[in-house]
Amino acid sequence: MMNSIILNAATRLLVALLLMFSVYMLLRGHNLPGGGFIGGLIGSTGFVLYAIAQGAPATRRALRAEPQSLAMVGLGIALFAGVFAVFFDDAFFTGQWLFIGATEDDKGLPISTVLVFDIGVYLVVFGSILTLVLALEEEV
């Protein structure tokens, strides 16, 4: 933890921006550079910054959940997204798609298990990195 007023002040803004950016990267990943992996890295960078500025205990409070639990939940979500296909007589991890409001020319709003899977990846990366960083911070 560093006692720097500038860092402290900047962090409040940066964490929010980074988290929002990370969700943006996650959602656009299927068509443009991004995705769950990159999103998770960006999101965790935000909290790592927070941990450096405010210390590990404050970060844990801000997270509201244990980071290792977040990682496990992410793994569970990814598994669920994979198993979901079995209910539709497909092989494991076959993407299932639903196009809301689709017309002849427009595919509408696509909702898919592939996105759910990517959210799982996001949480795994996010949770795993924070697990490590916070444990290291507290160790030192």
Partner: protein, 759 residues
């Protein structure tokens, strides 16, 4: 009944199965082969297929029939033991394994059941787990038979590939093709390694006498009547496919013949009756190996008959000695005398079984011996060796029968640790039934011939054209005369057997080659080797681990380049470099500068920052060659790594500021070597055409099939989602392990290792 519900359930199951298998006798004795199959692991070509022919039915009836008597016996013998239900569980597991082994038509399924019997045998030998001797014997049996099992698995895979199927019913019809195949010799060696260890053939014989540390019902059931015959079963089963060559003939005939004589001599040396029986079991296993190897129709017939005969009398004798042990508290031949009056029923069982073992008419044992002689005399090659070893072994068996069943029961009653009394009925009934069966089959040999021996012979010989005709006595021929000479020899040896035993004891004491202590030395050597290599490899110093990892990488890549002559091309360096733009040169300089700074700086913080510079330079390369996803990931990971390492570094000692201690020339050499090798392999790869089939496929299908334009992401979350799932599982496990390590060492004040989390 003693033993509670576990007791009667354990008796009912084998009894019901025995009745069930009896139902197959009429069909099988007509020469039918019953095949049943269901898919088990279809992707690995493992089917749960069952083949019931004469051989497997004979085994199934022995397993369930003797199993019923043994479990009944155990209700009294072990029923009050606090761990009795556990014993029943192991025994049932064994029975399942043994039935599966003998009935399975699929080699791989057979192997699984083979290992089930190995493991349950281990658990049963070590049942008295508070005795160090039991534990050692159990482990010895496990290691010897387990090693053989591994060899067997390798042999089965080879055979499966050669024959194109793992189904025995298919393999055994291709005998001529298999025997002519270049892999025939390794297959036979591997199969025999499995069979010889399991059936305790010389030089793997030493585990079986030690296995007698198991409770007596186990010895009777596993280590005499059934499990040790699994190796015999395997050789008999494979005979139509692998047998009939000189290699098969001589290996089996020499190993079997040697084992049979060696074991029967050793049997005379023992003073513990159970040990005498253990060695005579070895003798029987040797004889069976010998006759399966001999391979003529007469020899197979003799082996199949002897298999049943031996199981009957040997199980009876083992159970009998358990009763005696239970009643008197000892199994020493020197102590037991005159028990006949106190234990009349046990004596009857012992005497009947022993007469069969000695090969005296009109018992089935006599017929068994006659057919062994007949087959031995009829051999075209090796006749003298086979007949000679069987003669020696039979004469010594005669003596052993006397030692086991005559001496303890006749004469004047001697003092025993416990006062002798008749055993309980449930324990005496088993040996009695088995012994009486020996007499019944001797008087009516047609029954056993039609039910078991003839169909069994057809299965092992591989053709149903062999006529089997058992008889007690027909004429005075060479075999009959040999029998009479055997009796005479046996009587003479029996008269002198006590002084012979002392002489043998002195002889073996002087013998420098001892298998059992030799086994200990092998194990000690193995442990020392394991300790030595662990101390070398697991130094606990992170630098050395990394050194080993990178040295392996350099040697692996460099060695492959060298042996494959991969650098055999002309590289036009000038033309290659000509294509580089200014920005490429700039990044290159950037990376090289960062790397040099990392290596030469005296400050850790500078080193880490410089390493970050290298990473960012690599990310720039990704951007220039349009891989934005990879570049973003690389940048983020670099950032996080610098933060992580910087945090961890606060705990590390300072670098040597003068810079003499930290000079590590070997590390420099290794770093250069890895760099050169990786560069060389990349250049070599770029010389050839790159296979773009996958790239093309993803480019074409990404949008129409997976509705995504970012191919990298589509591959990650859709085309290769299972791989990604595996990777994120690894990420979570790595994070949790690092977390546990950091937390676990927290209070001991140790330095944490840096665990990085990159994928």
């Amino acid at each position: 009944m003693a033993g509670g519900p576990a007791g009667w359930i354990s008796v009912l199951i084998p009894a019901a199965l025995f009745a069930y298998f009896l139902g197959f006798v009429p069909a099988v004795s007509d020469g039918d082969v019953i095949l049943l199959a269901t898919e088990w692991v279809p992707s690995l070509d493992i089917r749960l297929s069952v083949m019931i022919d004469g051989l497997s039915l004979t085994f199934a009836l022995l397993i369930t029939g003797i199993g019923t008597l043994v479990t009944l016996y155990s209700t009294k013998y072990l029923g009050s033991h606090p761990e009795y239900p556990r014993f029943v569980l192991y025994l049932m597991a064994f029975m399942v394994g043994m039935l599966g082994l003998t009935l399975s038509d699929n080699l791989l399924a057979l192997f699984v059941f083979w290992e089930v019997t190995t493991i349950s045998s281990y658990l049963l030998i070590g049942f008295n787990s508070d005795s160090a001797k039991s534990r050692r014997s159990a482990l010895q049996a496990l290691l010897v038979t387990g090693t053989g099992g591994l060899a067997l698995l390798a042999g089965m895979i080879l055979l499966g590939n050669v024959a194109g199927s793992f189904e025995l019913s298919v393999i055994l019809q291709q005998g001529d093709m298999i025997r002519a195949h270049p892999l025939y010799v390794p297959i036979v060696i591997l199969f025999l390694a499995g069979a010889f260890t399991k059936s305790a053939q010389f030089p793997f014989h030493f585990w079986l006498p030690n296995a007698m540390a198991a409770p007596t019902p186990v010895s009777a059931y596993l280590h005499s009547a059934t499990m040790v015959k699994a190796g015999i079963y395997l050789m008999a089963r494979m005979n139509p496919g692998l047998g009939g060559t000189d290699l098969w003939f001589w290996t089996l005939v020499i190993a079997g013949g040697f084992t049979t004589v060696f074991a029967s001599v050793l049997a005379l040396r023992q003073t513990d009756i159970k040990q005498v029986l253990a060695y005579t079991t070895l003798m029987a296993l040797g004889a069976l190996t010998l006759f399966i190897g001999a391979g003529t129709s007469d020899a197979i017939k003799a082996a199949m008959l002897f298999l049943v005969v031996h199981s009957l009398y040997k199980a009876a004798l083992f159970l009998m000695i358990g009763v005696v042990d239970h009643a008197t508290g000892t199994r020493e031949v020197g102590v037991l005398r005159g028990l006949a009056r106190k234990m009349p029923l046990t004596f009857v069982a012992a005497a009947l079984a022993a007469i069969s073992m000695a090969g005296i008419p009109p018992f089935i044992g006599f017929i068994g011996k006659e057919f062994l002689y007949k087959a031995g005399l009829g051999l075209e090659q090796g006749s003298l060796w086979v007949t000679g070893t069987i003669f020696a072994a039979s004469a010594l068996m005669f003596v052993a029968a006397g030692i086991v069943a005559l001496r303890p029961f006749l004469g004047k009653l001697a003092d025993t640790p416990k006062p002798a009394h008749e055993g309980p009925m449930v324990m005496v009934i088993g040996p009695l039934i088995l012994a009486v069966l020996g007499l019944f089959f001797g008087l009516f040999p047609d029954t056993i011939e039609a039910w078991l021996v003839a169909p069994g012979t057809w299965a092992v010989y591989g053709s149903p054209d062999v006529s089997v005709d058992l008889y007690l006595f027909r004429e005075v021929n060479a075999a009959f005369i040999l029998s009479m000479v055997t009796f005479a020899t046996g009587v003479v040896i029996y008269v002198f057997h006590r002084s012979l035993r002392d002489a043998l004891g002195r002889l073996f004491a002087a013998n420098p080659i001892k298998f059992d202590p030799g086994w200990d030395r092998v194990l000690d050597g193995l442990k020392a080797l394991a300790g030595w290599q662990t101390r070398i490899l697991q130094s606990g110093v992170l630098q050395r681990y990394l050194f080993v990892v990178f040295a392996t990488l350099a040697i692996g890549i460099g060695g492959t380049i060298w042996t494959k002559d991969a650098l055999n091309f002309r590289l036009d360096l000038a033309a290659e470099l000509d294509g580089l733009l200014f920005k490429h040169w700039a990044v290159l300089v950037f990376i090289i500068a960062g790397a040099l700074l990392t290596a030469y700086t005296r400050s850790r913080m500078t080193a880490i920052a410089a390493l970050g510079v290298v990473g960012i330079g690599v990310a720039l390369i990704f951007i220039m060659f349009s891989a934005p996803d990879v570049a973003i990931t690389q940048l983020l990971v670099e950032t996080l790594v610098v933060v992580l390492v910087a945090v961890a570094m606060l705990k590390l000692p300072h670098l040597d500021p003068v810079g003499t201690k930290d000079r590590r020339p070997w590390h420099a050499v290794l770093a250069v070597a890895v760099g050169v090798c990786v560069t060389a392999v990349l250049v070599a790869v770029l010389q050839g055409d790159i296979d773009r089939r996958l790239t093309d496929y993803f480019e074409v299908t990404s949008w129409p099939e997976a509705y995504g334009r970012n191919i990298v992401n589509v591959i990650l979350v859709d085309f290769r989602a299972l791989d990604t799932f595996g990777e994120i599982a690894v990420v979570v496990i790595a994070a949790l392990s690092a977390y546990a390590l950091l937390r676990g060492t927290h209070y001991k004040g140790r330095k944490p290792d840096t665990a990085e989390d990159e994928t």
